[in-house]
């Protein structure tokens, strides 16, 4: 596999994950449990969209053929999306959303820290900025998971349930294929097995303080890298892409 092609796919993996999670979090707009959290989730969403745009633009510049950030976001079908499966899972209740945030933002934080050492200047520049945002998101979700875990019996039960439900999608975040092999050999992207070790440490420091337990889950669901998604992605894309599909090229 050529390096450029691998960089293109790597950009899509990160950008797709951010776009889909941003879309999910935006669903909370006007439905947050309190005004501050409504603002928080849409602010995080905005950061994620911004990060996605940067990498879609980079991917489009590699692809050529008049590709743009918008064409990549709005005109690819479900099987062409290579986001991590965890981000497409429905919001559930507030505890569920915060647990998903914790699991994913701690992955992002560790990934971006590694990409900041990349031999690719664009990845390095992107990660230097994005890591600050990921850290802020991680702090926000960590505080909530601790608060909910230590809170009432009901909040603890719901938070534990969210961890039990979401855990099966976590292995998918660290799946690697020939794209990773190529980029690891060029010093462009990190070995995700190393990221996984850092990730589990940061997640467990939060769950331990929250009094929550990590489930033993033999059942694992993977497929993000290959575009094999859970049933939810198609529904998100229907809403996300509707305008460009119905009115091609519409802009404002």
């Amino acid at each position: 596999m050529k390096t450029k092609e691998a960089i293109y796919t790597y950009c899509l993996r990160i950008a797709d994950s951010n776009l889909i999670l941003g879309q999910r979090l935006a669903e909370w707009c006007s439905r947050g449990p309190i005004l501050e959290e409504d603002l928080a989730m849409t602010n995080i969403s905005l950061d994620l969209f911004g990060q996605a745009e940067t990498l879609y633009e980079y991917a489009a510049s590699i692809k050529g053929n008049n590709a743009t950030a918008d064409s990549l976001a709005f005109l690819r079908v479900e099987r062409e999306y290579c986001n991590r499966l965890i981000v497409e899972q429905p919001n559930g209740d507030f505890a569920f959303t915060m647990v998903r945030e914790l699991l994913f933002s701690s992955f992002q934080k560790n990934l971006y820290e590694a990409l900041y050492k990349s031999n690719d200047e664009m990845f390095k520049g992107f990660a230097g900025k994005a890591v600050k945002e990921a850290k802020y998101h991680l702090r926000h979700s960590s505080e909530w998971v601790i608060r909910l875990g230590q809170g009432t019996e009901e909040s603890h039960r719901r938070t534990q349930w969210a961890i039990d439900e979401l855990w099966r999608y976590t292995a998918d975040m660290f799946e690697m294929n020939e794209v990773d092999e190529e980029l690891i050999s060029m010093g462009i992207a990190p070995d995700l097995k190393e990221i996984q070790k850092l990730w589990i440490k940061s997640v467990m420091s939060v769950t331990a303080e929250a009094g929550l337990t990590i489930p033993e889950t033999p059942h694992v669901i993977k497929g993000g890298n290959d575009g094999i998604h859970t049933e939810h992605l198609g529904h998100i894309l229907c809403e996300l892409q509707y305008l460009q599909r119905a009115h091609p090229g519409a802009s404002w």
């Binding site: 911004g50 802020y136 926000h140």
Partner: protein, 168 residues
Amino acid sequence: MVNTEPLSEYKIMELLAQIPDPDIPVVSIVELGIVRDVQVDDASKVTVTITPTYSGCPAMSVFKEDIRETLLKNGAKEVDIKISFTPAWTTDWLSESTRYKMRKHGIAPPETNSSDPVALFSSGKQKIKCPHCSKTDTNLTSQFGSTPCKAIWFCNSCNQPFEYFKCY
């Protein structure tokens, strides 16, 4: 008025220093630190390099339009705006006078250096000085505020909410 004087890099910086941040109008885009480089050639083609504050900050598109409009109005024949990611923007670039202006405007400026491990997370033990009464009996209300760059705090001394420009 037709400006016949050729544009110098110095003059361009002076012009850019008059463009306000759309969200914090007392601070210019130069003071904010987003203008990283300015170049002008003999044909008055200007290249401005800027760096984004937050990845998704909506003000970025306003910055670009304002820069283009201001320079074209003042003698530039063509304006090219480049985006640079390295070095990443940081609030460490805000000068003392910029911080003073923010405080006057009711926004508490960042209090620590961005390399400080607790910089981003002013929650916990760190207390932010109220821009209204300068007391430090304050509490974090919300980590997120009206723009990506600000958090919301509350002052227990003067009973006023205020915005804190996050250390980033």
